[in-house]
């Protein structure tokens, strides 16, 4: 198991290098001159030229990339073009905020998604099934930013229950300020969780061991809790792992709407100002976060499913990267 985890962690390195490669080249090919961004529209041509040299922008792109990777391995993610502060410091500062938001979003998704999914599966093809599916789908169907605005208009402005923006300090203020962004972020994922829960419950319900459990004389509640849910969890966990990526993407919008000081906003700001080192830093962190979540998913698997655990124990890395099943939307 430990060996497996270690191997997975090592596998992340090439993936991350790939990520930096792609993002670096996308950003480097962007029209627009970072020097002009730093110095603003009134800088002289000489100043711009000097700045470019200072930033190493006079060198060919591949060399710049190699330098970047080299620095990265020395723990240096560079300095922001925009405010000349170490990227690492800024990203590290924002990272927990996004993590909190994303985890809260996932929790919302699970809290909404799993009960509805179970209900839906147990009452397949009934009115209950249909209406709960539609209800949960409405969440995923609304553009994230619109939902956020509506929520804050209603709950913050109209009812005055919750803050409309910002991240509170201290436990309860934080919790209060987390509610609306987490709902905004989580409802999208909720629909996927509902869907996965429903279909994997349906799958499990058909299994012989459920019949066996019933034949033992177990009550329906015990059958559901003991035999169905845990088995049905496996694909749900997968879905959650993948949703996490979607969620990180959605964080860009949610964080902007709710002035949440996270990586997503940092990303948006940096992309629009072509702050390459910042973008790279933020993307790397998000990718790491995503990879960790997927590793976590695989570890959780092992706890849920002993077959997988023994697979890890035996084979070390056989399946790397992400899960087989993937879900859009």
């Amino acid at each position: 198991m430990w060996k497996y985890i270690l191997k997975r962690l090592l596998m992340m390195i090439p993936v991350l290098i790939g990520v930096t490669f792609i993002v670096f080249f996308i950003m480097a090919l962007t029209p627009g001159d970072p020097a002009a961004i730093i110095l603003g529209d009134q800088a002289s041509a000489e100043a711009l030229a000097l700045k470019r040299i200072e930033l190493g922008l006079d060198k060919p792109i591949p060399i710049r990339y190699l330098n970047y990777v080299n620095d990265m391995f020395h723990g240096d993610l560079g300095t922001s073009y925009k405010n000349q502060i170490k990227v690492w410091d800024q990203v590290w500062d924002k990272f927990p905020n996004t993590a909190i938001l994303a985890v809260a979003g996932i929790l919302v998704a699970l809290l909404i998604g799993i009960p509805i999914g179970i209900l839906s599966a147990k009452k397949q093809y009934t009115f209950m099934d249909n209406s709960s599916m539609v209800l949960s789908l409405i969440g995923v169907s609304m553009p994230n930013f619109w939902l956020g605005l509506l929520l804050s208009l209603f709950f913050a402005l109209k009812l005055g229950w919750l803050p409309s923006q910002g991240m509170g300090t201290g436990f309860f203020p934080l919790l209060r300020s987390l509610v609306l962004p987490a709902i905004t972020l989580g409802t999208g994922a909720a629909a996927t969780v509902v869907r996965m829960t429903r279909s994997s419950m349906l799958e499990v319900i058909r299994q012989d061991y459920i019949s066996t459990a019933r034949a033992k004389g177990l009550s329906e509640k015990a059958v559901t809790r003991h035999h169905m849910l845990k088995n049905a969890m496996i694909p749900i966990v997968t879905a959650v792992g993948l949703q996490f990526g979607q969620l990180l993407g959605g964080a860009m919008l949610t964080e902007t709407i709710f002035s949440w000081p996270g990586l997503g906003r940092l990303m948006v700001d940096s992309i629009t100002s072509k702050d390459i080192p910042m973008v790279l830093g933020a993307v790397i962190f998000m990718a790491v976060m995503f990879s960790f979540v997927n590793l976590l998913v695989d570890i959780i698997y092992a706890f849920i499913d002993p077959r997988i655990k023994s697979q890890y124990d035996k084979a070390g890395v056989k399946r790397i990267g992400f899960r087989k099943r993937s879900i859009a939307a």
Binding site: K314, A315, G316, K318
Partner: protein, 322 residues
């Protein structure tokens, strides 16, 4: 029986699979031959390498080592095109009649695939194609109205008939039958077995008939090969094998078969344990751990496959000793 003519010869055939936990000896050093128009039955427990043997002979798996001659031709050295030609003469019928049919193709399409792939009928020649297909369907006993049906609309017996028709289209000389009836119900199973027998008589097919059910091969085969964990343990003409099984495994196998006759004397040799893993097997007799007659000696060195009686081979060093 007329003069015997060898159609397939297999020598020292090995097929090992690389698995995460080690090298899996699925087929380990098999040698035998089959005569034209005859049936060689291959029996053994699940996982002993029967299917692998069949597939390796057809080069659906590349053998790890060993040689296969088909009509005097070494087929391991054939290139792609030669292999494609050879496939006209060597075919396979699979166990699971549902899994072996493309669910997105109708009965007609499935059967014509054979003709089209091997270019026995031109793609343009719709009329001829249809004629051939209906003829084949008739031969295997599928009503012509089913020509546009999809596999999921057919029952198991009919599906297997489609599988047979697909092979029959090529009129191959040699057919590997990989448990063709084990997924079918008894009455259907008998129908299909009869069909296969009829076709053999009509076209002179040679069968390598894989099964785990000894009673099925008994009335079909000329010779029977018993496998255990990738190894041959016994080979004999059918009647000799049933009359006088030599290897302890064969004996146990025979005794375990439930006979549909309440008066049949049951003298069961109950084996302890089950088939073990074929991954990196230890030297010596692979059956030794379950064998009621095993001794220390069985675990040492290779066990020779010896001709105990004329044409009756067995791989057991204890034969005659107890």
């Amino acid at each position: 029986m007329a003069e015997k003519q060898e159609i397939l010869r297999v020598e020292h055939l090995k097929k090992y699979f690389d698995t995460p936990s080690g090298s899996l000896h699925a087929v380990d050093d098999l040698s035998f031959s089959i005569n034209k128009g005859e049936t060689l039955g291959v029996v053994g427990e699940s996982g002993c390498g029967k299917s692998t043997l069949g597939r390796t002979i057809l080069r659906l798996h590349e053998p790890t080592s060993g040689n296969i001659w088909f009509e005097g031709r070494e087929i391991n050295s054939c290139n792609k095109r030669e292999m494609k030609n050879l496939r006209k003469h060597m075919q396979i019928i699979f166990q699971d009649p549902f899994a072996s049919l493309n669910p997105r193709m109708t009965v007609g399409e499935t059967i014509s695939e054979s003709l089209l792939i091997q270019k026995l009928v031109g793609r343009k020649d719709k009329a001829k194609l249809e004629k051939e297909v209906t003829e084949l369907m008739d031969m295997v006993g599928i009503a012509p109205r089913l020509i546009n049906s999809y596999p999921h609309e057919l029952d198991g017996g009919r599906r297997q008939r489609v599988g047979i028709a697909r092979v029959l289209a090529l009129r191959p000389q040699f057919i590997v039958c990989d448990e063709p009836v084990s997924a079918l119900d008894v009455s259907i199973q008998a129908q299909v077995l009869n069909l296969m027998q009829d076709l053999q008589e009509e076209f002179g097919f040679t069968y390598l008939f894989i099964t785990h059910d000894l009673s099925v091969v008994k009335h079909l085969s000329n010779e029977i090969l018993v496998m255990y964990l990738g190894k041959m343990v016994e080979k004999a003409p059918a009647s000799a094998l049933f009359a006088n099984p030599l290897h302890p495994y064969t004996q146990a196998l025979l005794s375990a078969i439930p006979v549909p006759d309440p008066d049949f004397p049951v003298s069961r040799i109950l084996l302890e344990g089950e088939l073990t893993s074929p991954i990196d097997p230890k030297p010596g007799c692979r059956f030794a751990r379950r064998c009621p007659k095993a001794t220390e000696a069985c675990l040492k060195g290779d066990i020779p496959f010896i001709e105990v009686e004329p044409n009756h081979f067995a791989a057991c060093i204890m034969i005659g000793k107890t």
